[in-house]
Symmetry: C2
Subunit: 113 residues, 2 copies
Amino acid sequence: MLTDEYRYKILKLVQEKPEISQRELAKVLGISLGKTNFCLKALVDVGLLKVSNFRNSQNKLAYMYLLTPKGIEEKTGITMRFLKYKMQEYENLQAEIEELRRAAGESGDKEVE
Amino acid sequence: MLTDEYRYKILKLVQEKPEISQRELAKVLGISLGKTNFCLKALVDVGLLKVSNFRNSQNKLAYMYLLTPKGIEEKTGITMRFLKYKMQEYENLQAEIEELRRAAGESGDKEVE
DNA sequence: ATCATGCGTTCAGATAATGAACGCAGTTTA
DNA sequence: TAAACTGCGTTCATTATCTGAACGCATGAT
């Protein structure tokens, strides 16, 4: 399943390091190789990424994932959408933390740690 | 699967409305009835929730989910842990938004919306 | 030539999530 | 009172999703 979370994360990582391998991507993302492969293909299918070959001196032939113009353009929107969603979660939690503090009779200005 | 996300959300919802039904909980959480049932049981199993019956005037006999003393105590920790995790995500995204703004040559003080 | 390495790809098996269907217990209707 | 109805928690076959070992291939090393 390709969610906004992985759309965002993969586009970001690929943009930073186009020669990244699927295995490395999987490791960074904390997901399996199979899922990584699936998500990359999905991003290629919808035209956000494209694949090209490149010669790697030390390593063998490898792929390179590049953001298409569409990918570059949509990445911003995807990121914004994802941020908005996360911001909402974050604010809800902040409110909950405040409630907990009030319930515990604390001063309310302590740091979460 | 019972994750911190659902530990937190369920404990919160149950605390606010102990007489909530599994179906209503499922709807609010955006998950299936089966998963809701599974998560509630898991929370009972680990001693964070307990079940008791109550008489509901209009409706039939129903259950009531109550936080145990352990549940009340651990809810704070679970919430804090979940917040910390979300805060990290949120901060990473904020940084990414900044990068996007810089790349787009914007002024950097626009609101996300 | 042979081996070793690392790549993307595949897919059988494991894991997780779904929601229709069930039995039960109150409430309403006939 | 009996029968139909409602909404509850529970179950579990089905479906969706994820995993990672194994494969073929291309390169570099021996």
